[in-house]
Symmetry: C2
Subunit: 204 residues, 2 copies
Amino acid sequence: MNRSSSTKERILGAAEVLFAQRGFDGASLRQLTTAAGVNLAAVNYHFGSKEKLVEQVFRRRLDALNAQRLAALAKVREAGNGRLEDALDAFIRPALELSHEDSGSLFMRVLARAFAEHDDSLRQFLSENYGHVMRQFTAEFARLLPHLTKEELYWRIDLVTGALTHAMSGFGMIQRKQDVSEGAHREQTIQHLIRFAVAGLTHP
Amino acid sequence: MNRSSSTKERILGAAEVLFAQRGFDGASLRQLTTAAGVNLAAVNYHFGSKEKLVEQVFRRRLDALNAQRLAALAKVREAGNGRLEDALDAFIRPALELSHEDSGSLFMRVLARAFAEHDDSLRQFLSENYGHVMRQFTAEFARLLPHLTKEELYWRIDLVTGALTHAMSGFGMIQRKQDVSEGAHREQTIQHLIRFAVAGLTHP
DNA sequence: GTCTATAAGATGATAGAC
DNA sequence: GTCTATCATCTTATAGAC
């Protein structure tokens, strides 16, 4: 059994937790390797640098998320006369499912940090690797809302994205109540978001 | 003429810029005092610590913003049978005006960082000092949307807040075009947001 | 692949002269 | 109020033994 992959995974897991809690600069390699139970030098050995490690933390979650989104969108398309609700579901559900996973909420905080950082190299990385997903969804929304000008459509998609981002981030005031299961709460969030987005996208 | 207030102001200005660009941890007192053209020791002399300086950077903008919001809300109330659009305008306009000011967009990035930090002491500071504003607006929305349950209303306000936050942050894909003036673009954003929010709040 | 030891440098805070 | 000098501590990265 090769220990290297286990070491890599342990580092990635610890990095996600610590980047969420303390930020990319705030989490030191010392804290990180200690938490992962590996040697201080292991990060540079396995990833090359701290920055490459950050990139891998993103890839691990976002590759899966965007594959799910595109697969769901493809299903909506091939089903023929898709409804707006279904396209929105394809866009929203994988994202919210990720954000409600055990370590997913941690990752959401990592993502929020990345956006707040406003770091161009990181933004470029995200746009290069996942920009095509947004473009495919925009094209589908344009097909389903043919009465809107491009300008108007972009505005509305932008605001939907804002609402989704906010819901994923967990910053809002809505907290899951004790008598509601995790899964039920997620489904509630998805349904609220979809109805809200449909109203916002289709109003005259 | 007392130089101390000028030194304090120069520090606050430089801090806002550098906190936005590099984060609270990322901006060192050395970079900060150099940019402000003051001595390294001046921050600790005038503010006590780096953390107290951060607090003052927030106060300078948020005290003004929330006073404007409450004044606008009071006007809507005293005008009698207010419309939902007017209450939303009171909530949204001061925020978006701040975010479009010269140094306002910088401050928005500072604010985004604070949320991403998820730092409890900072969140507590914000909630203690400005939480009553949100409560007053929620009460007004409840009055204007009596058919919604409290539960449903909270969800929808939360999603509106998400869209507003996103619009303020400037993360979105919508960029001002060259042939549109700064003021016209801001007004466009406000109108899009209000119409989107009205649709999202009132849908059946 | 993993370890220790250490290089080379930045950081927040403060003491004390002016 | 402002300055310099410095403390104690932290950081990333690497060299070299095992």
